[in-house]
């Protein structure tokens, strides 16, 4: 099935920016967001007055601690933007759903230049308390009662996506013989790449022995299968191609997007727990382009948990469903000179949990040839940036 019109090709990414990134830097999340926003506007060669759209994920939320804290309203007002279109919210195809919304807005002429941002301050919010159930909110005790989908997991001591993704990984291990040694390659690859990223949180070498000896969080996931909470903000500017004649450099073009969720919107009722919405988003993306997985030069695939990266590799067709383990173990994809460089900035496992937008940022700077020490030897022309997991997923196919 081909769509009648591939409207996303009217959109480009004209600039990207990031704030300071770190563990417990104790800066106001709005302050971080403004840093990223101004950097992205300048990177595009635009000015504040050019921005007429604003998008974010997940919008302003007070819980879980540090998961958000900055919404549309705060940024709109702080920068005194004149907006024609804006949207922020959690009910979207994952973190990059907000960017796809911006793409749709510029493609339909609702806006010319949309500032999209994602800000986290989970490291500071957690302080020295250790990792909370950061993806879920509530449940601390007292009179709190679980509602909606959380009522089906919180009473059973399973408040975290770590538990939910772990059960998907376990089912994949069971059906396909996937092993921890194979899954480890996602973490090891990320750490290798993070060594060349000065902004990464963890840059010291990691060995397979390190991985296998660290404590378990929720079997089969160990601590190194879980991303590291961080503080930081990432911004990208989505522009309509014909509204952007005077950019600082040629923009990244949007070839196709995938946002589908064709199974049930549920962590435990989804039809096949060895895959996720990744399956549907990726399928939709490939339905909207003549390019194929073999055309992709670099893949920036969400690793909030390592198993999600494996799921994206399968979903995007870099290997068959069920073959993610052997594909990773072969090690072919990952090295910077390999056939599919993966998570070249270190991913969220090593570079910090910037929650989806970090992958898009990295795809863009690689396509522009601006990735510094970690720039791929052969500058990529086609990149995939994909984020989300469980019943939330979106992918973007980008070209230089």
């Amino acid at each position: 099935m081909r769509a009648a019109e591939i409207g996303e090709r009217k959109a480009v990414i004209s600039g990207v920016g990031q704030s300071q990134i770190g563990r417990r830097i104790y800066r106001d999340p709005l302050d971080l967001t403004i840093d990223a926003a101004l950097a992205a506007i300048g990177d595009a060669g635009l000015t504040r007055g050019d921005i007429d759209g604003l998008a974010t994920y997940p919008g302003n939320m007070k819980t879980p601690p540090g998961f958000s804290g900055v919404g549309i309203t705060e940024v709109h007002d702080a920068l005194r933007l004149d907006l024609n279109w804006y949207a922020g919210g959690l009910e979207a195809p994952g973190q990059l759903g907000s960017v796809v919304g911006a793409i749709a807005a510029v493609a339909t002429g609702l806006a010319d230049h949309v500032l999209c941002f994602r800000t986290v301050w989970e490291a500071s919010a957690q302080g020295d308390q250790g990792r909370a159930a950061v993806t879920t909110g509530g449940g601390g005790g007292g009179s709190y009662r679980a509602t909606d989908f959380m009522q089906w997991t919180l009473p059973f001591g399973a408040p975290s996506a770590a538990n939910w993704i772990a059960m998907m990984a376990q089912r994949h291990f069971h059906e396909f013989g996937t092993t921890r040694e194979q899954l480890a390659q996602v973490a090891l690859n990320g750490r290798r790449n993070a060594a060349r990223n000065p902004n990464a949180i963890y840059r010291s070498p990691m060995t397979l022995d390190d991985y296998l000896s660290i404590r378990m969080v929720s079997t089969p996931l160990c601590l190194y299968d879980c991303d590291v909470p961080a503080d930081g903000s990432t911004a990208v500017i989505v522009s309509r191609a014909d509204a952007a004649p005077d950019l600082r450099r040629p923009p990244v073009r949007v070839e196709a997007v995938g946002t589908a969720l064709r199974g049930r919107p549920s962590w435990d009722q989804f039809d096949d727990l060895t895959t996720m919405a990744t399956r549907d988003a990726a399928a939709m993306m490939w339905e909207r382009t003549d390019l194929t997985p073999a055309d992709v030069d670099v893949a920036e695939l969400y690793d909030g948990f390592s198993f999600i990266t494996l799921s994206w590799l399968e979903a995007l067709g870099f290997c068959a469903h069920g073959e993610g383990g052997p594909f990773l173990e072969a090690g072919r994809p990952m090295s910077s000179g390999g056939e599919l460089p993966l998570n070249t900035h270190g991913g969220q496992l090593s570079a910090g949990r910037l929650h989806g937008y970090g992958f898009l940022h990295e795809a863009c700077v690689q396509l522009w040839g601006e990735a510094g020490d970690r720039q791929l030897d052969q500058r990529p022309e086609v990149a995939v940036a994909a984020a989300g997991g469980g019943p939330l997923a979106a992918s973007l196919l980008l070209t230089a």
């Binding site: 005790g141 001591g157 408040p159 975290s160 538990n163 059960m167 929720s218």
Partner: protein
């Protein structure tokens, strides 16, 4: 033996409403209940006021057998809640009444390392503040 019983593990409890009370209170009568379509017999979970198969609007709670099989599981080692001490097993069990009718739960009554995918289990309820949490325990039968 000590004089004081150990503190009960903390459990987040659900907000019981007219829409979900059949599920959370059914344990008082020893029944695990789901909504079911009167027209076509389809089991509906989580609850919704419509059958997703035939779009029938006549849906009402009915009891299942309480038997299930472990579809997948995880041994949780992270201390999320006071006195809910790791390790404990979180599982998704699938009920024989309908393909894909699943429930996230805890497997109790055995050691974590005894749990396996496919293991036959049956429901066992624990009451908290008038709410009956459906846990599952091994039946002792061999996995099929």
């Amino acid at each position: 033996m000590t004089d004081e019983a150990p503190p009960r593990p903390f459990r987040v409890l659900p907000a019981v409403t007219p829409d979900n009370q059949h599920f959370w209170l059914g344990g008082a009568e020893g029944e695990l209940r789901f909504l079911r379509c009167a027209a076509c017999g389809y089991w509906i979970h989580p609850p919704a006021p419509i059958c997703p198969i035939c779009l029938g609007r006549d849906v009402h709670p009915d009891a299942v057998s309480g038997r299930a099989a472990v579809h997948t599981f995880t041994v949780n080692w992270q201390p999320w809640y006071p006195n809910l001490d790791p390790p404990y097993v979180v599982a998704i069990v699938e009920l024989p009444e309908q393909a894909g009718l699943r429930l996230t739960t805890n497997i109790v009554g055995c050691q974590p390392d005894e749990v396996a995918i496919g293991m036959p289990v049956r429901v066992t309820f624990e009451e908290r503040d008038g709410i009956w949490l459906p846990f599952f325990e091994p039946t002792g039968e061999a996995s099929p």
